[in-house]
Amino acid sequence: MLKLSVADDANVQPLASLNDHRMSHPPPSPIYTLRGAGGPLNSLHFRCYGEDAPLLFSGSGKGCIHIWNLNTRRTNKVIEGHSGSSIIWVCTKRSKDTLISQGRDMQICLWDLGEGRCDLLDSVWTGSVGFCQCSMLETSPISSLLAFAGQQTEEIKIIELPSKIQICTLMPVAKVGMVMCINLFQPDSCPGPLLLAGYEEGSLLLWDVTQQSILSQVKAHPDPVMCLTFDPTRLRGISGSSEKNLSSWKLDEKNNLQLQGGVTLANPGVSQLCIREDGKLLASAGWDSRVRVFGWKKLRPLAVLQYHTDMVLSVAFSDHQDPRQRLMAAGSKDQRISLWSLYNES
């Protein structure tokens, strides 16, 4: 009834009526799913550029890294390299066939995947017992910076790869609790890289890596910051917590963090947030087993995807060169990965 009445005064609010009209579309279904990971899926990573078959890397709670071929929709290879400990993060380097994985066994491993190999190249001991995922910033085709949580709960270490030289250690003076999530990025305005970190107490800190100093601090959540993501082109980011609110914030010219409000979800708890490369979509992996999709510019809710039967732990957008092929993957505690094709028309 309400929808009808709104649609009636189309002259007054053409846009609103249009939206209401379209709202009647039922939410989409996954285009396919991947089963057989044998554990909760903590981390997902696409690698779809180049000539090779598009790949999806997944790290499971049982310590396996699955490499899925998205053409055949089967596993190419399974790597078990963290002695059965849960894998919390997987990533590949752009330049080479190098895979980086982080496990709860306090190791970060580098794998060579070139020409069908899967050899352990190197490993780094972190000493962290937490769940904080690493963050990698590729500074040049050969070298990159890797930030990870250190042995002490509040400590963040940054090393250079492949030399493994430690660049700095970031320790906040104030009591902010365990470091929960980090994001390393290189803004245009600064010479050196910056690092965003969310802490147990609910604060977000912006670190200048070269100065090893805190540029800005903001209390984004009353509860621990579970995840954050940052859009370096628009200098905006968003963070999630164990409560119902997503908190959005912005980085101004003086590198100050400013809260911008956020979104309230129907159910509390977000495991991961991810922004699509074109800056149009934001996806959240909810503890209520739903993936929510928002328009990134205004945080307008666009879709609530219900497929999983347990907490969604990870969500990722693919890096296909052809935008029509872009995918979104969601990994859940129910041991399945669902793949979705959303808003790919333009």
Binding site: P14, L15, R22, P27, A266, K280, K297, R300, Q306
Partner: protein
């Protein structure tokens, strides 16, 4: 002496002329015509002779001319001669006589060139503005002193000229004689006459407006009130500043004959009354009656604008204000009268309410203080009788009026406040209290395009806004997100007994809600388990209260109870029907029982199809129930009635069913009696808490309606339907003239369904005498019931009855004829 000889000479000469005209000798006729014409000219004869001619000989002359119209010499006249001599005689003389003779001739002549000629002259007569001359001649009294009969004839002809012409000429009529052109012409003639009157009064010449008034009255009496509507703006404009015009207008309306006063006033009412008619209402008893009584209390067809004008008119002048007070008293009485609330149509009650609010809003504070006690009395009595009504609309109107009255009386501490749903009607009523609207409309041309620039800028603004919206992420279409609800922690019960247990004893709101939601599907899925606990569960559900404010509580409970009644029909219906008459239930619960029984009967009577379809049907049923049906019995009834009506049509047309429909046993037919008969018992035994025939007529109406539904659903149960039908007719007979229209509607609905569902051969056999009594009663209702729904239902029943009887009498195979 001289005048006598003068008159003789005129008479002799005219007689000679006329003789000459009638004879066949035509040589002198042109001169004769010229001689006659000269009597109409000022130059050639003395005033006395001219007056003599126009008084005594003019009509005769014209008649003779008409009789000679076929003569040879007339045909030999050149067109110019004819126009200047023959036609001119008609167009220059006293117009009233000419018009009468012309119309008389038109009436007598048969279609011919002569008729065409006369019609042309009449047309010319109208075009030359002779109507104005006619009216004006009566204004200045220059017209001959006529008899009342003549005047009446003239008035009749004037007002009915289009009819006379159309009767004679049929399709060949000139557009000038069409009412659309003639009446505006007449109106402008009257206006010109009035204009001249004003001028004459300024020049100290006496005038009489009686004839114009009579014409106006006659026109309005004959239903041409639009003439007045066309004149009124001009009158209104002229009277704005001109005192003479104002006096002329007042005089005009004062001299309107008594019997046409009402028509004139009603035609005038949409316009600005005050300036045009002045204090007519004080001087003319008839006008007073029309304005203060008829328009407000007897008629109710007018728009709110008319009410505003009438009451505004009464309020606008100091002399008329006592009338406003008097009117307000009458309206108060009418509004508060409990009998009126029961026996007058809804539309009239609405009209009276509007009048009440308008007149209260027009009162000054001092007057309000004087009337305070009376208003309070009216408010209290009226509120009670309105709130007692079982019709939602009446209650709503009562609440709005009560609120408005109490707020106007400025009882800061005792202001009434009701909760009702805002709709168009209530908003309109509320808007009547703002006093700005009643003033007379002033022309506002030139202000319409106040600021075109502004509009443009708004438009541009809109475009810019749209552009901004477009460029943001609005281009991404949201999907339906209604499913995104909070996830509950507890899981719904999986066994029926768990469900019952938590409904009975759980204190956990979440569990109760889930159990209630799960009850309907659980009962339907586990029919066997449901049969064991059906009565117990019905009891629990019936007594359940919405302790936790569960969303859609009523619908969920209703669905669960219906599921029980359908699954385990006989025990549950037995339980519900006995409980219906037992002690200590609220009205709400009793209504719930009826609703459940009805819904269950409906579901049972639907043909069972495969599981998928039935679930769709039940879903539809639930969807059709409005969420807060409990507060809106009318709506509920209408929904059900609509459903029934749609079915009715299908059955009566005998529409062919789709060929694929499979025959399935009717589940309702064998149990129809269990629904129906127990409810017929005990209705006349008043309990302490439940008096069906007394104050609880709301339930009575529903009960009868439900019985009607059971009857209707039994259309495919030929064994029981005759017994049910006669029992039902017996039952409703005692309450057929109930004061509450909801009960009457229920009764009529029940009667309708009896005629629909009973096999036609049983109608005569089983009902017999009762049928004819019913028929008389139905005719009575169809003619005289104040409620429109009742009337239409009665008509519908009559039609059904006739159809059924006719079918029965025509059908030679029918058993009643064999017997």
């Amino acid at each position: 002496m001289e005048s006598v000889s003068d008159s003789d000479s005129v008479r002799l000469e005219v007689s000679a002329c006329l003789r000459c005209l009638s004879s066949s000798d035509s040589s002198r006729n042109i001169t004769v015509l010229q001689t006659l014409l000269s009597y109409l000219d000022e130059a050639s004869h003395g005033a006395a002779q001219r007056a003599q001619f126009s008084r005594s000989h003019y009509s005769r002359t014209l008649r003779v001319l008409i009789t000679t119209i076929e003569a040879d010499w007339v045909h030999r006249l050149t067109a110019r001669q004819r126009e200047e001599l023959w036609d001119a005689l008609f167009l220059r003389g006293p117009p009233e006589q000419a018009l009468l003779v012309l119309l008389e001739a038109i009436g007598e002549l048969s279609p011919s060139t002569s008729l065409d000629h006369v019609v042309t002259i009449t047309e010319k007569f109208l075009q030359d503005g002779r109507l104005t001359n006619l009216l004006w001649s009566y204004c200045v009294g220059s017209a001959q002193s006529d008899s009342p009969q003549l005047r009446e004839t003239l008035l009749g002809r004037l007002s009915a000229l289009p009819d006379i012409m159309a009767n004679k000429l049929h399709h060949n009529i000139s557009p000038l004689f069409l009412p659309q052109q003639y009446y505006p012409l007449l109106a402008s003639a009257m206006l010109t006459a009035l204009q001249r009157t004003c001028q004459a009064l300024r020049d100290n010449i006496n005038c009489s407006l009686a004839f114009v008034s009579q014409t106006l009255g006659k026109l309005c009496l004959q239903g041409h009130g639009l003439v007045l509507a066309a004149m009124a703006p001009r009158l209104s404009a002229c009277t704005r500043s001109d005192m003479v015009w104002q006096r002329v207008c007042w005089k005009l309306f004062e001299s309107i004959p008594q019997r046409s006063m009402e028509c004139v006033l009603t035609a005038l009412v949409p316009e600005s009354l005050g300036r045009i008619v002045g204090n007519l209402v004080l001087r003319n008893k008839k006008a007073e009656f029309v304005i203060t009584h008829k328009l407000l209390l007897l008629q109710y067809k007018y728009e709110t604008g008319v009410l505003r004008t009438v009451l505004g008119y009464l309020a606008a002048d100091r002399d008329r204000r006592p009338l406003l007070i008097q009117v307000l008293r009458c309206i108060c009485q009418a509004w508060a009268n409990p009998s009126a609330v029961k026996h007058t149509p809804m539309e009239q009650q609405l009209y009276v309410s509007k009048a009440l609010l308008l007149s209260v809003s027009l009162l000054k504070d001092q007057e309000l203080q004087d009337l305070r006690s009376e208003l309070l009395q009216c408010l209290l009595g009226g509120m009670q009788s309105h709130l007692d009504s079982s019709v939602l609309r009446i209650r709503c109107v009562g609440m709005v009026v009560g609120e408005c009255l109490s707020s106007r009386m400025d009882n800061a501490d005792t202001k009434l406040k009701f909760e009702y749903e805002q709709d168009e009607e209530t908003r309109e009523l509320l808007s009547l209290m703002t006093p700005s609207g009643w003033c007379e409309p002033e022309p506002v041309d030139g202000k319409a395009h106040k600021n075109p620039l502004n509009q443009v800028s708004v438009l541009q603004h809109n475009i810019i806004l749209t552009f901004i919206h477009k460029s943001s992420d609005d281009e991404l279409t949201p999907y339906d997100m209604t499913e995104d609800q909070e996830v509950s922690q507890t899981s719904p019960p999986r066994y029926l007994r768990d469900c019952l247990e938590s409904l009975m004893s759980s204190e956990d709101a979440m569990r109760v809600e889930l159990s209630l939601k799960a009850a309907d599907p659980l009962v339907r899925r586990n029919a066997f388990a449901a049969r064991e606990i059906s009565v117990q569960m019905s009891k629990v559900l019936l007594h359940m209260e919405d302790k936790y404010n569960i969303q859609g509580f009523l619908i969920l409970r209703h669905a669960a109870m219906v599921a029980l009644a359908v699954t385990d029909c006989i025990p549950v219906t037995q339980y519900l029907t006995t409980e219906f008459y037992s002690l200590n239930y609220s009205l709400r619960q009793r209504l719930d029982m009826l609703e459940v029984l009805v819904a269950a009967a409906q579901e049972l009577s639907l043909p069972t199809t495969d599981k998928k379809n039935s679930s769709i049907i039940s879903a539809l049923d639930v969807a059709e129930l409005p969420p807060f049906q409990g507060h809106d019995p009318v709506h509920w009834r209408q929904v059900v009635e609509k459903r029934i009506q749609s079915k009715t049509r299908r059955i009566s047309k005998g529409a062919s069913q789709p060929a694929t429909a499979k025959a399935t046993p009717n589940r309702y037919a064998p149990v129809a009696g269990y629904f129906f008969f127990p409810l017929l018992k005990n209705y006349d035994k008043p309990e302490v808490t439940f008096d069906l025939l007394g104050s609880d007529h709301l339930v009575l109406g529903r009960l009868i309606h439900s019985l009607g539904l059971f009857m209707h659903l039994a259309v495919n149960a030929p064994v029981v339907s005759p017994i049910m039908g006669s029992a039902l007719l017996d039952f409703v007979w005692t309450v057929r003239y109930h004061t509450d229209q909801m009960v009457r509607r229920g009764v009529l609905f029940a009667v309708c369904s009896v005629f629909l569902s009973m096999p036609s051969q049983n109608l005569l056999l089983d009902l017999g005498d009762m049928l004819f009594e019913t028929r008389t009663w139905l005719t009575d209702v169809a003619e005289g019931d104040p409620d429109a729904d009742c009337r239409s239902l009665a008509v519908q029943s009559l039609v059904l009855l006739d159809k059924s009887l006719k079918k029965q009498l025509k059908d030679p195979q029918s058993p009643s004829l064999e017997s």
